[in-house]
Every structure is written in C-alpha cells, then in structure tokens.
C-alpha cells in the first residue's frame, strides 16, 4: 500500500442493553455508536458527531440538539422527536417507529426509509432524497408540495390517503400499490424503470411513461394484465409459464369469470390444508387439453393454478406430480406451509 495514507483506527462504541452514555460529553466524535436494543438511553448528548448511529429497537426518545451523522438507524425504536437542526447526510432509517408523528425541516439524507411509521401524518418541507420509502404510513395525508425525488425510488405503497404525486421529480422505481386516490402521474414526474400500480387509481399507463415496466404487488406484468384484464384470453392465462404472473392474470381476470368462461370440466375435488382443491380440464383447439389443479397456499391464502400433465385424474395425484412424485402413493406431506 503506497498510494494512500495509513488508515486511522476507527472509533467505535457499543452500548449493551443496560449501558448509559454518561461519560460521553458534548463535542464527542465517533465513527460508530451501536446502541441497538439499549434500554437505558433516552437521548443522545447535544452536539454528538458520529458517522453511524445504530439505535434499532432502543428506548431512544429524542435525538438531542445538533446531532451530526451520515447514517442514523432508528428502526423499531421509541423515538418520538427528531430535533430541528439535526444533520443526517446519507441515510435515515426509522421503520416502524410508531411514536414518530413528524420530522424536522431541512433533512438532507439521500435515503429516507420511514416504512410503517403509523403515526406519521405529514412530512416537512425541503426534502429532496433519492430514495423515499413510506410504505404503510397509513396516516400520511399528503406528500409535501416541494418534494423533489432525485432519481431513486418513491414507495408510498398502501398510503391510501395520499391523493396525488409531486408535480416534478424523477425516480427509477415508483410504487403506488394500494393508493386508490392516485389516478394520474404528472407529466413533470419521470419514472425510468418500473411502476407498481396494483389497486391504485391509475386506469392506464400515462403516455410519458410508455415502455416502462409495470408491476402488480411486485410481480412484473404488462399493461393489459394491469389495466385491461378483460382482454386476456383463457388459453393465454392457462398457458402462462410463470406461476406468479399467472396468479395475477387470474386474479385480474376474476376467478369465477375464468371458471365460467373456460367452461372447465371438473375431474376431481377434495380438501387439503390450503382449502378446497379442484382438478380442472379445459380442451384447447390444436393442442393437448390443459389440465390444471387449483390449490390454496396454507400460509398466504392465495390461490394458485398449476398446470399438470393431461393424464392426471385426481387432485392428490396432480399435487404429488408438482412436488416431483410420479407415484402419488409416495407423496404424503407431514406439514404444508
């Protein structure tokens, strides 16, 4: 190593759950303070300078005045107030901080992760992060008028009260799933890579977003599946190779509509931990019949259609085949998850 100066030894402090910060006075400079799960400290010393403050699941209630850091992680903590004048240069993560109702003006962090902050009702003016995650902030009534996104992501999934997106800004990724009141993307708001539109108020992809990826709660779909599911064909749905995408197609098309429209013949039906199972057969022109088993996932409750060979005659045989068993007698799962 000849090109660079010798590294300075980083100054790191770790606070165990019962440790206090008594001897840390104003003007202390640290590289890292890890007080995750600490129960004793309620506030940081005024003027603390620390590159990285980790206070996950701590009892920290306020930051203290004039705190300066690059990275501040408060996920699951008791934080109720972040003082005005706090400097967080790179990343503020405060997921699931249920007492946090407001943030101070002038936050400059490039990454703001505030997912599941259920008490958060408003954001301050002057924010211009690259990544802003507000998923599940269900009390948030609006985004600030002057919010500018710088190229990364805006995630407001399930922030059902938010009525509109900012007029300008640019992101690679936009998640407005569950935002039923949002029915347009302003022309000055650019999205370069993908938009998740499940359950939003959008009824079509705006012209200025033509060609970007469309998602339905994380599953890549296309504009027809998202906005015009009635145009999907039965054979197209059954022929889809990707099971997640096929699930969304079925969900969008409507399960009952599908069953009726496909005029499926029921070969077998029984019950399993995930609910009712049905083995359905649909004849197709110019192809071998499509035989699918309809099953429920015991964990998620989602229903899946799995294509199986046309020789299958019972639900059990078909499910055994999907698990890799040619002989259904060999397939006897103890627990299904």
């Amino acid at each position: 190593m000849t090109t660079a100066s010798r590294p300075r030894e980083p100054v790191r402090r770790t606070l165990h759950p019962q440790d206090s910060l008594a001897e840390t006075g104003a003007g202390t400079v640290l590289d890292q303070l890890d007080m995750s799960r600490n129960r004793a400290v309620r506030s940081l010393p005024d003027g603390l300078v620390c590159h990285r403050i980790l206070a996950r699941e701590s009892r920290l209630e306020t930051l203290g005045r004039g705190i300066r850091c690059r990275e501040l992680v408060l996920d699951g903590s008791a934080i109720a107030r972040i003082e005005a004048g706090s400097e967080v240069g790179f990343r503020l993560s405060a997921r699931a901080c249920h007492r946090l109702a407001a943030l101070p003006a002038g936050l400059r962090a490039g990454i703001l992760d505030l997912r599941d902050c259920l008490a958060l009702e408003a954001l301050p003016p002057g924010l211009s992060p690259a990544f802003l995650d507000l998923e599940g902030c269900s009390a948030l009534t609006a985004l600030p008028d002057d919010l500018i996104l710088r190229g990364g992501r805006l995630n407001i999934r399930d922030c059902a009260l938010i009525p509109a997106l900012p007029d300008r800004g640019s992101v690679a990724q936009l998640d407005i799933a569950g935002c039923g009141r949002i029915d347009r993307v302003p022309e000055g708001f650019r999205v370069t890579s993908w938009i998740d539109v499940a359950g939003s108020g959008l009824t079509a992809l705006p012209p200025h977003l033509a060609g970007i990826g469309v998602r339905w709660r994380d599953v890549p779909v296309d504009e027809r599946i998202a906005f015009r599911p009635h145009e999907l064909g039965i054979a197209e749905i059954l022929g889809e190779r990707n099971a997640e995408r096929r699930r969304v197609m079925l969900e969008r098309f409507g399960f009952e509509t599908f069953m009726a429209a496909a005029n499926a013949e029921e070969l077998d039906a029984d019950h399993a931990p995930g609910g009712e199972r049905r083995l359905l057969r649909v004849a197709l022109d110019g192809d071998e019949p499509l035989v699918c088993v309809s099953v429920g996932c015991p964990s998620t409750g989602r229903r899946y259609f799995l294509r199986v060979p046309p020789t299958m005659t019972t639900c059990h045989q078909a499910v055994a085949w999907t698990a890799g068993f040619d002989d259904p007698a060999d397939y006897a799962p103890l627990v299904e998850t």
Binding site: S5, P7, H51, I111, T192, S193
Partner: protein, 305 residues
C-alpha cells in the same frame, strides 16, 4: 469459479480502500470497497468515507467486492445512487468482485440496479457478478460500451432487460447464461432480435458464455446476420459438442471472424482440427470429457454453483 479477485480494472491496478484512510491517489489505482465476513464495516459506510475525500470527484472506476453473504447489494446500490453527486466522473463499475472462497457465484445476492443508470449517465463499463435477485430494469445508458453479466444461471428476464437496453454505443456484450438449476432459463429464441442484427449497431464482441444449450445456441448464431458486425464470437465455458461445431464450420459468417473463443468444450480432436483451419484465431483450450453416471451422459458447463 471465479477464483481470483481483480488485480486490475479499467486499465489500472486495483487496491482496497479501507475505513479510516484519509487520502487516495485516484490517478494510479482503482479503489475496491469490500468487507471481511466478520467486519463491523459496511460498504455503504465505507462509500460515505470515500465520497468525503477530494479523490471522489475524479474517480472514474470503482470496484465493489465482498459484502456480507446473506445481504443483497440493495443497500450498496442505494448508497451509490445517493452519493452519485460526489462521483460525477464515474465511467466503470464492477459490482461483485467476489470469488468462490468468499461466496459462490450462484449465492451472491444482487438487487434492483435500475436506479444506477440515470444516476451515472457516463458509465462505459458495467460488470456484475451473480444474478440472484438481479434486476437491470428498463434503462438508457448512452455511453455504455461494455456490459458483462457473470452468473451461474442468468434468468431470462435479465437477458431480456439487457437486450432491451438503450445502449447505442455497446461494443462488448457478455452474458454468462449458466444452468436452469441456478435460474438460467433463457433459450436461443430470446436472442432472435440480437442475432438478426436489430440491436446494438456498434457491437464488436458477442460473448454468450457458460451456456448449457451451447449446441443449439451455436446453431442459431451460426446463421445470424449479427456476425456481419462482430469480430469476436465467444461461446466459451459451455457444453459445446461436435453437433454445434458443425453449424459453426458451415457458417460463412463464422469463417470471417477474427476471433472465435470456444475454450472449455466437448469437441473431438478431429473437429478441433477443422476449426483450427477455419480462419479465425480460435481458442480450443480446456477440452472436456463427458461423464457417465448410471447410463446418462453429463457435459457440465464451467460455472454453475
């Protein structure tokens, strides 16, 4: 595979940037940011330190090495984008200079890289190792000349994203396709537009490596009009046999190449001799022997796990 960390990148030696360093000579060496498996450092915090140095603004190439195995590259990508203003001259990025001793290629957890493209519009060379969770997104990369995606199994979705790139300057396209066992579910059909010459007008090197359907791929590419454009065709690391080689031998387009890289293959000596006389400089090293277990013949590609 791969076994060795980079020693050079973008034409200069690579050295590790370490937490606590207060200067960096960016004209002489390319910084690599990586952590040890038991380190308290994180790459985002190291990047923050590096970004605070005067050297950051002049940095044209950056290597990201090992990150904690179970983590994805998401926090690193977000840190890069967040600090993009400090790296206005970044032209080359290697995301995942990770060798098998650190983490097997098929276990490397990547992430959604789509925010990198608008944040770094000057990128010319992008190299990524590992394809678990990898998303390139829809992207414009106006200066990109080299795109290399190394994997033990490259999902078809990622292949499609790479081929849909707005990259008019692309000269070197290198995809390690890998095996279905590790998520590599592409087929020759996925390359139809590429082979027909409809993409990347300046393409010079076409490298579709580590392919588990190398014979079908060779057959498809042998008749492809894209060969009129490229000088180097690289089908190395795959499971090519004489069947695929026959298609290459019969192709006027292949005969006119300057370089044909087929190393790691299952060709017979006779076919190798014919390929050597075909015209292009041809790499036929690492001849492999098929293996037989229980009556089944196995021809393994070079990089899977």
């Amino acid at each position: 595979m791969p076994y060795e960390n980079l020693t050079t990148f973008f034409g200069r030696p690579v050295e590790d940037f370490q937490s606590g360093m207060e200067a960096w000579d960016v004209t002489r060496v390319v910084p690599r940011l990586r952590v040890e498996y038991d380190s308290e450092d994180t790459i985002p915090s190291m990047l923050g330190e590096y970004a605070a140095l005067p050297a950051a603004e002049a940095t044209d190439a950056l290597v990201i090495g090992y990150w904690q195995g179970e983590d994805t590259s998401q926090e690193i990508v977000e840190a890069l984008v967040s600090y993009a203003g400090r790296f206005p001259n970044l032209r080359a990025l290697f995301l995942g200079d990770i060798v098998s001793e650190e983490n097997e290629i098929s276990w490397i957890n990547q992430s959604d890289l789509s925010a990198l493209w608008p944040a770094f519009p000057h990128l010319e060379h992008v190299q990524v190792r590992g394809a678990n969770g990898l998303i390139l997104g829809r992207f414009e990369a106006p200066r990109l000349t080299t795109l290399i995606l190394e994997s033990g199994g490259l999902p078809r979705r990622v292949v499609q994203e790479a081929l849909a790139a707005g990259a008019p300057e692309l000269r070197h396209l290198e995809l390690w396709l890998g095996t279905e066992d590790y998520g590599g579910d592409s087929t020759p059909d996925d390359f139809a537009d590429l082979f027909a010459g409809r993409l990347f007008p300046k393409l010079n090197t076409l490298a579709l490596r580590d392919c588990a359907y190398a014979d079908d791929l060779a057959t498809a590419v042998a008749q492809a009009s894209v060969l009129e454009r490229v000088a180097t065709l690289d089908l190395s690391l795959g499971n090519l046999t004489d069947a695929g080689a026959e298609a290459l031998l019969a192709s006027p387009g292949v005969a006119k190449l300057s370089r044909l890289d087929l190393h790691h293959h299952f060709l017979t000596d006779a076919t190798m001799g014919r390929l050597e006389r075909l015209g292009p400089a041809v790499d036929l090293s690492q001849q492999q022997q098929a293996e037989e277990y229980g009556g089944e013949i196995y021809r393994s590609i070079a990089v899977s796990e």
